[in-house]
């Protein structure tokens, strides 16, 4: 499938990367939470902007990003890919972040906020385990007890990350309810938060959840596009790419990679979502393709649901994209045409992972492989500058890769 862009928005919209006061990106977002969560969410909402814009926070955050996370991550000109796909292809190397994915950017920031709010405990949900590992990591560093909720199905398929979390001293709670994946891990984390409102910070792993989480996470991840800007300026003499490609589960790496380019009228923002066995197979996680507006985990967004409004189970080989919703920012960008979202099947992603490993010597995470797969769905001009957000490395997915490549 090749995608054409007829919808290059002509009217340049500004500030589409942040929500309004109540947390709405156009018609999406908000905070649909039971009263039990209201005080916590309110406390965060009242404080987050002030905290993250304070000089103290910025100093500490930036130091940790540099020396602990390993930022700036390189913007690597991928010569072999460029030749194959006929464009100037750059990889934004979030896979080189400590713990192996972009997740740590947001975790470092949120943990600092938790400290600021005097919350002595942290809980987190995780799908692929990357956010869980990132949370366990920063909690070890900051000496905060950490509990991670993870679907029992994901525990099996992302065993390596479970071992890492335990080694880092986090408690990992296997979630047996519902889909036994990310959706229900999130449910259980929220329930746990309801039961421990006073002492607990809920450290959400993506641009999902009730306002202000999507905005908070997007701002913390926006360091990605900020760096891309200045790196491209040095390497290409212009401060924006023609394309940004990023995978979107909840949408945090995509939000971070898009952030400074949203609505600039020049950059084509391409999100890829997990189509599982195919968008119409019934086994899919392609929320934007097959979702409708509704509420999940406290925000209004696009989600996969039955006509009765029951949330459907998602399916993707990639645990980190195996989520029936998507961040409200993306629902908005899609609806307004400010970004396009392409579905990528399990098989396309696995093949893209293989391709990237062989072409550039970089084994991507399965999630990330969905972004790489978009290359063969797009038509570039030779001068196009294309940045792929290489959100994470593939160490956690080696078993899956091995199984797949043994079978074919």
């Amino acid at each position: 499938m090749t995608v054409k862009f007829d919808t290059n928005p002509t009217e340049v919209k500004r500030n589409q990367n942040i929500p309004d006061e109540r947390g709405y990106y156009g018609g999406f977002g908000g905070a649909y939470i039971p009263e039990m969560l209201y005080p916590n969410v309110e406390e965060l909402r009242n404080n987050y902007l002030q905290v993250i814009e304070s000089a103290d926070f910025r100093k500490e955050f930036e130091l940790l990003l540099r020396d602990y996370v390993g930022r700036p991550t390189p913007l690597y000109y991928a010569g072999n890919l460029s030749e194959t796909y006929g464009a100037k292809i750059y990889l934004k190397r979030e896979d080189l972040c400590h713990t192996g994915a972009h997740k740590l950017n947001s975790v470092v920031g949120q943990a600092l906020i938790a400290r600021h709010l005097n919350k002595p405990r942290i809980i987190a949900e995780t799908g692929a385990g990357q956010h869980g590992v990132a949370s366990a990591t920063v909690c070890a560093l900051m000496k905060i007890p950490c509990t991670v909720f993870m679907g029992s199905k994901d525990i099996v398929r992302q065993q390596a990350n479970v071992l890492r979390m335990k080694m880092l001293g986090a408690e990992v709670i296997a979630v047996e309810s519902g889909s036994k994946t990310l959706k229900d891990a999130t449910n259980e984390a929220i329930r746990h938060w309801i039961n421990h409102p006073d002492d607990t910070y809920y450290l959400i792993g993506s641009t999902i959840g009730p306002h202000p989480y999507p905005d908070l996470v997007a701002r913390l991840q926006s360091v990605i596009s900020e760096e891309i800007q200045s790196q491209l300026m040095k390497q290409e003499g212009k401060d924006y790419p023609d394309y940004v490609l990023a995978c979107a589960g909840g949408g945090s790496n995509a939000a971070g990679a898009f952030f400074h380019f949203i609505g600039n009228g020049k950059t084509r923002l391409i999100g890829t979502e997990a189509a599982g066995e195919g968008v119409d197979s019934g086994l899919t996680a392609a929320t934007i393709y097959s979702g409708t507006p509704g509420i999940i985990h406290g925000c209004k967004t696009l989600l996969m649901q039955t006509s009765d409004g029951q949330v459907m189970e998602a399916h993707s080989v990639s645990a980190g994209l195996d989520y029936p919703g998507i961040g409200p920012m993306h629902a908005h960008l899609h609806t307004t045409g400010l970004a396009q979202y392409l579905p990528v099947t399990d098989t396309e992603a696995l093949d893209a992972a293989q391709m990237l490993s062989r072409e550039e010597g970089i084994i991507p995470a399965l999630e990330t492989a969905h972004a790489v797969a978009a290359l063969s769905k797009l038509q570039f001009k030779p001068d196009d500058v294309v940045v792929i957000c290489l959100s994470g490395r593939g160490d956690k997915d080696l078993q899956t890769y091995q199984q797949y490549f043994q079978e074919i």
């Binding site: 005080p39 985990h297 409004g309």
Partner: protein
């Protein structure tokens, strides 16, 4: 005045309400449960609309919801069941559920049907208050439905006052910061919380819920508030026996309302 408001007009103390999940334990349990409750003297009922992702609920209500969905329960079907029951019972009914299924059904269509099939009010725990005021309040009023809001020990006085302002039947007093189904007696924390509420002189009655499962918790709620709602404990009885009347009687025993 709807039936619920009427009830509260006439009875100020010792209300007992039960919550159950529509479609649980079987798809056609609804009528039997409502009739059994009325017969057993329960004051009013919350009919839970099952949802796949009940964030505020503990395992008992989660499992009843999952089962009810598997059983085939839908909002459409629930309205048909209530419609069929109309005129046969007088116990006031509230519909309780998460916002998403309501939106998918269509908010106004939902209210219209709810009202037409005899419901007096709605509890939608994840409906934000500002959204209620801006988008839903006129609908509630149009269809003569009472909005019921939850408050918890962490809800600020200011917000409680706002909720009191917006309410016209009762305020749902969540006993502690917890999901449904916690089995602990009430202690000092609850007493302080109940005292605080009392001292606020709110215009609406206060009905305590979450964790009402035995004599102690029921009596505490009755002594300090205007009534109590019991959910998980009731669902457990319904799980154990297919006979709704027996389930209610058993529950009343646990609540210390009936001697062996």
């Amino acid at each position: 005045m709807n039936a619920l408001q009427n009830l509260f007009h006439n009875k100020k103390q010792n209300q007992l309400s039960l919550f159950f999940t529509a479609g649980y334990p079987t798809i056609d349990s609804t009528a039997g449960i409502i009739e059994a409750c009325q017969k057993a003297g329960i004051d009013f009922l919350e009919v839970g609309m099952p949802y796949s992702d009940p964030l505020a609920d503990g395992p008992v209500i989660q499992q009843s919801s999952t089962r009810a969905i598997v059983n085939g329960m839908t909002i459409e079907l629930l309205f048909n069941q209530l419609e069929a029951l109309k005129g046969k019972t007088t116990i006031p009914l509230l519909l309780m559920g998460y916002l998403n299924p309501v939106i998918q059904f269509g908010a106004e269509r939902f209210m219209e049907k709810a009202s037409a099939t005899g419901a007096s009010g709605l509890i939608l725990p994840d409906l934000p208050i500002h959204e209620y005021r801006e988008e839903y309040q006129t609908l509630f009023e149009k269809y003569n439905l009472s909005p019921v809001f939850l408050i918890t020990p962490h809800t600020s006085d200011e917000r409680i006052k706002l909720i009191d302002e917006l309410s016209n039947a009762f305020i749902y007093v969540v006993s502690s910061a917890a999901t449904t189904g916690k089995k602990q007696d009430f202690g000092q924390a609850q007493l302080v919380y109940f005292q605080r509420l009392k001292s606020m002189n709110l215009k609406n009655p206060l009905i305590g819920g979450f964790g009402i499962h035995n004599r102690q918790t029921l009596q505490q709620a009755w002594q300090n508030l205007n009534g109590a709602i019991c959910g998980s404990a009731f669902l457990k009885k319904l799980a154990a026996t297919p006979d709704a009347e027996k389930a209610v009687e058993e529950l009343k025993k646990d609540l210390g309302l009936k001697m062996d």
